[in-house]
Symmetry: C2
Subunit: 423 residues, 2 copies
């Protein structure tokens, strides 16, 4: 099946809105094994919309539109697109009732022009809208499928999941299922090198690696009749990669190293406190992102000034003078200080030069030291980073979490288990 | 002039990449007074690319492409698009030299297939690439203008600014200049109400309001011969809006309330310390975002647990038991505690229920209290918020900064200056 995605809205052509729907829909169609040949954006202009719709029907089997289903005169998508099938618009009672309820919930009166939204082509499948007013529509005939969605992603996405995805999956012999494996600390070329023979050997699932922000992602994509069969194909390959990459593979699916660590802390009933300089609260905030973390996270100290490092954490003035605020010694004393004053089993600290100023030949911008108090033992780590202030701060936060994750895992790992590479 | 934006790349059709170039280019063209009628995305497929290019030339005066200028066989944009003009490709010496230098800088050998990138249509204007290998191309003839850019935004954007923008501006009698005014705490309808007569009266600049994340934005757009003349038109209208909205208008241009407050703290030589519960380090981290803030920001305490609130900040056990951790009383004691222990002139605190759990009938999810110690006086504020955990936390952080901003401004404002509305 060949598809075309058609977004309708002058606001996209003015650059006021980013067309994220096209990306979402493309990804979904790819996973269903449907090829997208064109994405088009056209404004709320009847002549040009008609031209774009006719072209789409002439070259695609599946036409998916977003936007232009609203109550105003500018909203022309439904009337223009459905013309191809020649069915009249009729009122859908359930859509009308849902719209009335929606307005009641907002304590607003429904004006007459809204009623237009409940008019649907005779014989179509209505995609009811739980998050807005305009229903979506699936219409099929003359060898074509038309799917029309409202523009807001929070309305389009649940509608696609509920109605369109199963509708299309039922027509496909084969679907594509992807699983993502997340790697920390090892570079992309190193990952490819470590997995080269598996990558070469595999055709289903296929294996692709790419870099996303600060990590390497491995995506396994299987083609199969259904999700269960696809997972049966993916499981053994994922397991082999897990074994090959060991501790460097930190998670599967959509997550972050901070989330993985938060979960581990709670499962192991660990207590943690953090002392931050350059990350300035980012480590603490990433922990607080995780609901329920209060059982593990005792407190955070943002000690950006030397004075605060001394008063709050007991870092020695002598240490700051002799080694500087950005040093292994200061990082160690920060970690010890926050652990001891809070009583936490784990104390994690960050100190470094985020820039743009403050660098020197000896300690350039991007020099970051981490400190870790782990049940009575203290260690430090130098992490040299590059990039702008924001990038260095985020990367320092992620490095701190990954280091803690590795430390927690090593405590239970057999002797000799070591990191496979430095990155 | 009517334009069409054509992005070339299978990775966009697979949903792997979001087409941010289309938004950037659309915005730029709008500011130049050029109408964009279509945005199209096509894959690295010769037949469909040719079809899309022919269509674009048939209906637009200006065709702007992104992507497909690289060294591989898949990169077909240049060869396909330039066919319209019938000029042969010739080697551009400067582009070749720059490419050689680029590879030397990376300490990599330039392979032969890269040379293809330095081939350009005879007589065109070359847009040299400071951030990658493929140069961009401007070609004009037969009443059409073609501009071709490489796909990566970090290459496309500087090229557009340096070459394409002045090239197009020279052809336009009138350009559009926009200025953005940022409003906190007042809702969109209230802003429109307060400015209705100005909005109705104005045609140049036009005035548009819209909501962006948690604030209302007013955009003034003037049509003029050049930037200077446009600013002369905008200035008096901006000034009138400033007067009308008073303290609610917190900044012009691209900034945030945290940045505005950081700047104010440094200018006024204020010292600040923060005590955070639900925001968990976000307030501290937003301060640390601002380079040089160490002169004002003494320290942050992330006291997510009751124990930490008592030990670190001196919040009374009695207060926590009687009023709860999420209360005006606790917020006040947190603010006093962090100010006194740090010696800062300003102490700012946050406490609240971010959800998804932890809410009650009396204190639902989204109940947030802020506390502020301001040079010896303490006050608190209840901020009722809605949304998911992330949204509530970010909104609480922004509300804290805005409240501090208003407090600092009132200290020097004439008597009777009060907020115009509650939001």
């Amino acid at each position: 099946m060949e598809a075309e995605i058609l977004a309708v809205g002058t606001e996209i052509l003015l650059g006021d809105i980013l067309n994220t729907n096209a990306q979402y829909l493309s990804k979904q169609l790819a996973s269903l094994g449907i090829d997208v040949h064109f994405q088009t954006v056209v404004g709320d202009n009847e002549k040009r919309l008609t031209e774009a719709v006719n072209l789409a029907f002439s070259r695609a089997d599946l036409i998916i539109t977003s936007g232009g289903l609203g109550p105003t005169e500018d909203d022309l998508t439904k009337e223009t697109c459905t013309r191809y099938f020649g069915e009249p618009l009729v009122e859908d009672q359930k859509a009308m009732e849902m719209m009335e309820e929606f307005f009641q919930g907002l304590k607003r009166t429904m004006t007459d022009n809204n009623k237009k939204q409940a008019m649907v082509p005779r014989g179509c499948t209505v995609m009811y809208n739980e998050n807005g007013t305009a229903p979506g529509i699936i219409q099929e005939g003359k060898g074509k499928i038309l799917m029309m969605f409202p523009g807001p992603p929070r309305e389009l996405i649940p509608m696609f999941e509920t109605y369109a995805k199963p509708y299309l999956a039922a027509k496909q012999d084969q679907i594509f299922v992807s699983r993502v494996l997340r790697i920390s600390k090892v570079g992309e070329s190193e990952v490819e090198h470590l997995l080269q023979d598996i990558i070469d050997r595999q055709t289903n699932p296929t294996i692709a690696t790419y870099v996303k922000r600060f990590e390497v992602i491995i995506r396994l994509t299987a083609k199969a009749k259904n999700e269960q069969e696809a997972n049966r194909l993916i499981d053994p390959v994922a397991e082999e990669i897990h074994e090959r990459l060991g501790i460097n593979l930190y998670a599967e699916g959509e997550t972050s190293v901070a989330e993985v660590v938060s979960k581990m802390l709670l499962e192991r009933k660990e207590t943690i406190a953090v002392a931050e300089s350059l990350t300035g609260g980012m480590v603490a905030s990433a922990l607080v992102d995780y609901p329920g973390i209060s059982a593990s996270f005792l407190e955070g100290a943002v000690t950006y000034s030397n004075e605060a490092k001394m008063r709050r954490l007991g870092v020695k003035e002598e240490t700051l003078q002799k080694y500087g605020a950005v040093s292994a010694q200061t990082a160690a004393e920060m970690a010890i200080g926050i652990a001891k004053t809070s009583g936490a089993g784990i104390g994690l600290s960050t100190t470094g030069i985020a820039g743009p100023g403050g660098g020197s030949a000896e300690k350039p911008v991007g020099t970051v030291y981490l400190g870790l108090w782990y049940h009575g033992k203290v260690k430090t780590k130098l992490v040299p980073l590059v990039g702008n202030r924001e990038r260095i701060r985020i990367r320092a936060m992620e490095a701190a979490f990954d280091w803690l994750r590795r430390t927690m895992l090593r405590e239970e790992a057999p002797q000799g288990e070591e990191e496979k590479a430095n990155g």
